[in-house]
């Protein structure tokens, strides 16, 4: 089934969905495995698996460091793709790849998409590939049933949002604020009107990420967005308290305490 439909389906039972993020090979693939299991068992709806890149320009300090450590441990793209395939076949939720365009480009767009399809990956997030540069890749991905995820930013104009919507599929990733991943976002009235602009610009589901850290943040999103995205926060959690801390954290985000 296509990502957008899966999301809409899951959304019928829940007031908000949750997408989490991991950096592949950080701190290790074994830990990735445990963390993902905790996430799935606690009801996470989508997981974006970041294939590390040496120049993660759009990422803040936590994810940046995770990228570097993973590479320093020798993580290769083959490792990542194999792990991705394993996860898709193990867990019945939606998995996406997140990475930078050079990884896909060097591997070969066609080859990368083929592998992703074979594995069962449902979406692709490339923060440094605006559709002007990636129109072709977006088209090919869609044809293969992989959703190219578009990103909205508070700096995007209404026209720009509409333009982007045409290229995307699955959902739109709305960054809660300017800047890079990591620090907490103020989800204030400006944020609300930004989300309204997003909603008007596209019929795709809206995911909101960047600095979503706790149940309060998630509550703000209920009604205004379809999915919250938690990134750096889980990495910090695992760094500090190990993978077994992930389940309770996810529960709390869902309001199941």
């Amino acid at each position: 089934m296509k990502l957008e439909e899966l999301i809409r389906q899951r959304k019928t039972d829940k007031d908000i969905l949750l997408m989490t993020h991991i950096v592949l090979g950080y701190p290790s693939f074994e830990t990735n495995r445990e963390v993902i299991r905790e996430m799935v068992e606690n009801g996470v709806d989508c997981i974006e698996m970041q294939i590390p890149f040496s120049e993660p320009m759009a990422d803040g300090p936590v994810i940046l460091k995770a990228n570097q450590d993973s590479l320093a441990r020798g993580t290769t793209i083959e490792n990542c793709l194999n792990f991705g395939a394993e996860m898709c076949s193990t867990h019945d939720i939606s998995f996406l790849y997140m990475t930078y365009y050079n990884i896909v480009y060097k591997y070969g767009e066609q080859r990368f998409l083929d592998q992703a399809v074979k594995a069962g990956i449902q979406g692709l997030i490339l923060p440094d590939l605006p559709p002007e540069e990636g129109a072709d890749l977006c088209k090919k991905a869609k044809q293969k049933g992989i959703a190219p995820i578009m990103i909205y930013s508070p700096t995007s104009t209404n026209e720009r949002m509409e333009e982007l919507a045409d290229y995307g599929a699955g959902f739109v990733y709305c960054t809660a604020r300017k800047g890079v991943t990591g620090s907490h976002s103020k989800l204030d009235s400006d944020f609300k009107s930004y989300l309204e602009r997003c909603r008007r610009a596209t019929s795709l589901p809206l995911a909101v990420g960047f600095g979503i850290q706790n149940r309060n943040d998630i509550e703000v999103l209920i009604g205004a967005a379809d999915m919250g995205v938690v990134g750096s926060q889980t990495i910090k959690l695992v760094d500090q308290h190990g993978s077994e801390a992930v389940g309770p954290f996810i529960k709390e985000l869902f309001g199941n305490t």
């Binding site: 890149f53 040496s54 120049e55 993660p56 320009m57 759009a58 803040g60 300090p61 940046l64 460091k65 570097q68 590479l71 290769t76 793209i77 930078y100 365009y101 050079n102 990884i103 480009y105 060097k106 591997y107 923060p127 440094d128 590939l129 605006p130 002007e132 540069e133 578009m150 990103i151 909205y152 930013s153 508070p154 700096t155 995007s156 104009t157 720009r160 982007l164 960054t175 300017k178 800047g179 890079v180």
Partner: protein, 409 residues
């Protein structure tokens, strides 16, 4: 005219969505200045009264006689205020910032030259300024950090990745996606997303325009060859552009050969075999990267040439064979530096000395009535710590040890 985004297969603008609008506005502002002749007048006037342009073209008679071939001319970008060609680009972008009404600038720096130039411009134009510099480079180039701070700039050491230029660029982009409203990113070379490659090259084209006029008036005709070192590509494009259409002039870009092209300790992207096409830091070019697309560590004796990428404009000129690319090793660079100091009383920057190496190799092939121009992108006295170190100078070491002893007390 409108901005060229692609140069053959190279270039583009691979930027996060958050910067889309910022780049759209930058591009509009750039096109305005580009199409406004008053801007170029303002720019050249500023460079003349503030930075000492036109920089001279010096006939290196002793070196010419030494090699017994072509007449060697040196374009003296070292005499620019702040000591390198970097000032050209930076002052130009400073005028642009004023027009855009922004109040803060950020920059990356490797060797420190671009950082110094940006700090200088920020002081002159009354702008707030933050410079990102890889921690490795902060350690290598402490004097530059000192001066930047004294001019009121905040220097942020970047602890990530290889802790050099590319990481500083990433960090500057991270700042920019947060602070684009009041902040302009003063990119330091002809790389990065459009419109930077074209804009920086255009601002640097003042070098070649002057040089062409000067060589004709001093030597009577255009040069047979023009040599420039290639880091990101700004000084080379600065001088090359004017000669691209001139049939009789061959253009030679010299990359950092480090310990040799086979050593995998170099920064040759166009003349070696270790680079391949890729996309990073917002643009597509030949990068030093592994098969997975992860960027490699580079090496050069000169902090300003050890960059993983290269201007997309140069990648295009390389592919079209409009510019020939060569490499100079660290060892050759020290020798050329030595000879130039002794023969001409000129201290080239380590970067610039790469261009000298190749010119010295080829000068004897050419006849005495031919001229060659070497773009001396900067002065070397900024490099005292590196050069004295490379020479393993004992009294320098003693001096440093004595100073340290005073400070330890």
């Amino acid at each position: 005219m409108s901005t060229r985004k692609y140069f053959g297969n190279w270039g583009g603008s691979y930027i996060p969505e958050a910067l889309h609008e910022t780049f759209r506005q930058l591009d509009i502002a750039y096109q305005q200045i580009r199409n406004d002749p008053a801007f170029w007048d303002e720019y050249t006037a500023l460079m003349s009264t503030y930075s000492g342009r036109p920089t001279p073209l010096t006939h290196a008679e002793n070196l010419s006689n030494h090699f017994g071939g072509a007449q060697i001319y040196i374009k003296r970008e070292d005499l620019n205020h702040t000591g390198a060609h970097k000032a050209n680009n930076v002052m130009g972008q400073g005028l642009l910032v004023k027009r855009m009404g922004k109040t803060r600038v950020i920059a990356e720096t490797g060797a420190g030259q671009h950082g110094i130039a940006t700090a200088t411009m920020a002081a002159k134009f009354g702008l707030e300024c933050t410079v990102y510099m890889g921690e490795e480079d902060v350690l290598r180039q402490r004097p530059n950090v000192f001066w930047m701070e004294k001019m009121g700039t905040t220097v942020v050491p970047v602890m990530d990745g290889s802790k050099t230029l590319k990481d500083a660029i990433n960090e500057a982009f991270r700042d920019w996606v947060t602070n684009m409203d009041n902040t302009h990113y003063v990119f330091g070379t002809a790389c990065g997303p459009a419109p930077y490659p074209e804009m920086v090259s255009w601002l640097q084209s003042i070098i070649g325009q002057e040089a062409a006029e000067q060589i004709v008036s001093q030597h009577g005709k255009l040069p047979a060859r023009v040599y420039a070192c290639v880091g990101g590509g700004s000084n080379s494009l600065g001088i090359f552009q004017r000669f691209l259409e001139e049939e009789q002039t061959e253009l030679v870009g010299v990359e950092a050969g480090g310990h040799g092209l086979d050593s995998s300790q170099h920064a040759a992207r166009l003349c070696g075999n270790d680079a391949s096409a890729g996309i990073a830091q917002g643009y597509k070019t030949m990068f030093l990267q592994n098969d997975d697309g992860q960027m490699l560590d580079t090496h050069s004796v000169s902090a300003g040439l050890d960059y993983i990428g290269v201007s997309p404009i140069l990648a295009d000129l390389w592919e079209k064979k409009a510019v020939r690319f060569e490499a100079a090793t660290d060892q050759e660079v020290i020798e050329a530096l030595d000879l130039t100091m002794r023969k001409e009383g000129i201290i080239p920057a380590l970067e610039s000395a790469h261009a000298l190496v190749q010119a010295f190799k080829e000068a004897p092939e050419l006849s005495k009535d031919e001229a060659i121009i070497i773009n001396m992108s900067g002065r070397g006295d900024k490099d005292i710590f590196t050069i004295a170190h490379a020479y393993d100078d004992p009294s320098w070491k003693e001096f440093i040890i004595d100073r340290a002893a005073q400070y330890r007390k």
